[in-house]
């Protein structure tokens, strides 16, 4: 079964089969990164554009390496050098890029729905690399890949996601993916960080970290975005760490073989203690490695079924 879509805009619209296809395909691509010659000719002659309207090192680099290992030509456009600063609209920027016949546009944007706007007008495939507080599908896919590698399967696992759920696209994409694959997902954070009616997405909400950690197989810690911090969400970083920071002591409540995940970059001593981040429980660097494999898989799969999709 191929991936029957032009774009990857989120996890929410994906079927379980599509998710499994991406994860299985990533397994094959992971091997490429272990070779001496870390390159296959799969996407030779394809043009990929990394269109980043928000600063990002990790995701942009990961897509860039993924593209290069597949022999695609990939170029980076960041907001500071694009015409956005000159007041050009997103649609005009997209039309201009489109006129140069790219095959895939990878977009990161601070506004939810920006990739959808692009996907509607572009012939190229669009990959959402994070849009506002909406979705970050490749992050959730690489998280799921990492969980599967460590735990064998996702079905039946108890997963806790802790932190600023309200502003987190990583949380939303992971909630969609993990619940689709049959994990039991709970979230925890200050009440000011829990979006309304989130229970309808099939998660359990906790306001105490200890209860959220109890018996968990997987704990995902979200980054506290200091830069977008409006003081009214919580009084101080110190109080946040005291109430929700992940420490080795607290981690004892989780299962003995718990894994700790974080989408990065880390704020040590804010949402996670250094001891936990550097502990054997941490799979944070595996997440980074797997990110490349998962993104190679997504690039490959989107390129395959594309023409059918566009004609219909």
């Amino acid at each position: 079964m191929p991936l029957k879509r032009k774009d990857l805009l989120g996890i929410e619209p994906l079927s379980v089969e599509e998710i499994n296809l991406i994860l299985d395909t990533a397994k094959a691509f992971k091997e490429v990164s272990t070779r001496d010659i870390k390159k296959v000719p799969t996407l030779r002659g394809k043009t990929l554009i990394n269109l980043f309207f928000e600063p990002s090192t990790r995701t942009r680099t990961s897509f860039e390496i993924a593209g290069k290992r597949l022999s695609a030509d990939i170029l980076n456009i960041s907001a500071s050098t694009s015409s956005v600063v000159k007041g050009e609209t997103l649609i005009d920027t997209a039309r201009n890029l489109e006129a140069m016949y790219p095959d895939i546009i990878i977009i990161r944007h601070s506004r939810a729905g920006a990739p959808h706007l692009l996907a509607n007008i572009c012939r190229a495939s669009v990959i959402n690399a994070g849009d506002g507080a909406h979705e970050h599908p490749t992050q959730a896919l690489l998280d799921a890949f990492t969980i599967k590698e460590n735990k064998g399967q996702i079905k039946g696992l108890k997963v806790a996601i802790i932190g600023d759920i309200l502003h987190s696209r990583v949380a939303r994409s992971n909630i969609h993916l993990l619940t689709k694959l049959g994990a039991e997902v709970s979230i925890a954070g200050p009440a000011t960080y829990i979006p309304v009616e989130i229970e309808k997405l099939g998660v359990k909400v906790y306001h105490h970290i200890d209860a959220a950690l109890e018996g968990r197989d997987v704990v995902m810690i979200l980054r506290i975005q200091r830069e977008r911090q409006d003081k009214s969400y919580f009084p101080s970083l110190r109080e946040y760490f005291n109430l929700f920071g992940l420490t080795l002591e607290r981690l004892k409540r989780a299962k003995k073989d718990v894994i700790i995940m974080h989408p990065g970059p880390l704020n040590r001593g804010v949402e996670i203690s250094s001891e936990v981040a550097d502990s054997p429980y941490s799979v944070i660097l595996e997440q980074v490695t797997n990110g490349v494999a998962v993104r190679m898989a997504v690039l490959y799969l989107l390129m395959g079924g594309k023409y059918e999709e566009v004609v219909s």
């Binding site: 609209t89 506004r111 909406h134 309304v196 009616e197």
Partner: protein, 429 residues
């Protein structure tokens, strides 16, 4: 002016409790006679068999954008859109540039309307100078010039003391104060209804409470002083309940609802189509249900469009960055006929009242009826005609509607203003 004889239709005039097959004779810009089998040799005959003859529809809340944003709409184009949509009168909000807070702006609007407008235009004046919510506008002078209500439109009067004074002061002139009820601190940077869909879409939400807090405050103020409060575009279940309570207390509070708030829910935002972005935002299915109940039981007085034209390029941006608002003059009547009458929420007569006598009463207009001697403003409706909404055929200068491509049953087919057929432009004979 030629006499008109509107023959063979079902005349519904809620002001006179009339619903019968009658003929209508119009002469000298006035309703001359309503009766059976009328004859007049001089009159041009308009055959309206199987159609409904109603008093001219009044849109008590629209934005004509002139002066200031003639690129989005002008008084001329807005009036044409109104006529095409079946409206004979519109009341335009003061959020122009400059805002309508002085006699000269009111005079300008009335002059433009008289010269270029094909429907009646009734300006709404600013409640506070510059719509800034700091000091009262010269409401007395504005009233003299011709305003029919005061409002700060999209800028709710935040200061409760000033709102009290606006109600008291406007009350002296028997002018309603129309308030866009919203606690802007609570809605903050919100761009859609706060609820399941805002959580799903990752868009900042505007809670229902942001509206309800101000509705409650305003109602409580009207209990304190004499004055007429009119709640603009009410959108939540809580607001309907508060309004019902206020009416039960005998307070002088009226309210309007827009067609989009009784038709669409916040689920529509899932497309990230910026034509689903307006303020107040599309609400939950539960809110829509409560609004339909409020329409059914008469709690809600009027239907108004909140017609808010925006240029395509202003709307063709990221959802959060798009301006609030949609056009409504050319979709309101089909939506009301389809959703309220054909789906049997209310009778044709009740629906017509919400567009005619009710807004006329709120704004104290001598319109909204077919009584002999009244201005000959008439809207002819076809209850069963299927209409496909096509924004490219709109008379409005703007196209920002979420209803493009919708098929609805029922529309206004003929608009008569002051005894003259204004729409269709080439009159039927």
């Amino acid at each position: 002016m030629k006499k008109l004889l509107v023959k063979g239709g079902r005349v519904i005039d809620p002001a006179n409790n009339l619903d019968e097959h009658l003929d209508l004779l119009i002469a000298g810009g006035k309703i001359a006679q309503v009766g059976k089998q009328l004859e007049d040799k001089e009159a041009q005959i308009i055959d309206v068999q199987r159609l409904i003859v109603a008093p001219g529809f009044i849109d008590m809340h629209c934005h004509l954008r002139e002066p200031g944003r003639e690129d989005e709409e002008t008084i001329e184009s807005g009036c044409r859109a109104a006529a095409a949509g079946g409206f004979t009168s519109v009341a335009c909000m003061p959020n122009t540039d400059p805002p309508n807070d002085s006699q000269s702006v009111t005079e300008f609007i009335l002059k433009q309307a008289a010269e270029k407008g094909i429907v009646n235009v009734f300006p709404i004046g600013a409640a506070t100078k510059g719509l800034l919510g700091e000091e009262l506008a010269e409401i007395g002078e504005l009233k003299e010039t011709g305003i029919v209500a005061v409002s700060d439109d999209g800028h709710p009067i935040y200061n409760s003391n000033l709102m009290r004074k606006a109600l008291e002061y406007a009350g002296m002139f028997d002018l309603p104060v129309i308030d866009h009820c919203e606690d802007k601190e609570l809605s903050a940077h919100g761009v859609m209804n706060e609820g399941y869909y805002s959580t799903l879409l990752g868009l900042p939400g505007i809670p229902a409470a942001a509206e309800e807090i101000m509705v409650a405050r305003n109602i409580i103020l009207t209990a304190l002083i004499k004055g007429h409060l009119h709640i603009a575009h009410l959108s939540t279940k809580g607001s309907v309940e508060l309004l019902r309570w206020a009416k039960a207390q005998g307070l002088r509070v009226t309210a309007e609802v827009t067609p989009h708030h009784f038709t669409l829910t916040d689920k529509e935002v899932c497309s990230y189509d910026t034509n689903t972005k307006m303020n107040p935002p599309l609400r939950s299915a539960e809110d829509v249900k409560a609004i339909l109940q409020g329409i059914k039981d008469g709690t809600i007085d009027a239907i108004a469009t909140d017609h808010a034209p925006h240029r395509k390029d202003e709307k063709d941006v990221e959802y959060a960055d798009a301006p609030f608002g949609i056009v409504g003059l050319e979709t309101a009547v089909p939506l009301a006929l389809d959703r309220l009458v054909n789906k049997r929420v209310i009778s044709p007569s009740r629906m017509i009242a919400m567009f005619t006598v009710n807004p006329a009463t709120i704004l104290k207009l001598e319109r909204g009826t077919l009584s002999p001697g009244a201005a000959a403003d008439v809207t002819i409706l076809n209850l069963s005609e299927v209409v496909k909404i096509d924004v490219t055929s709109f008379q409005s200068k703007s196209r920002n509607s979420p209803f493009h491509g919708w098929e609805l049953i029922g529309r206004a087919v003929l608009t008569i203003v002051g005894g003259k057929v204004v729409w269709p432009a080439k009159s039927l004979t």
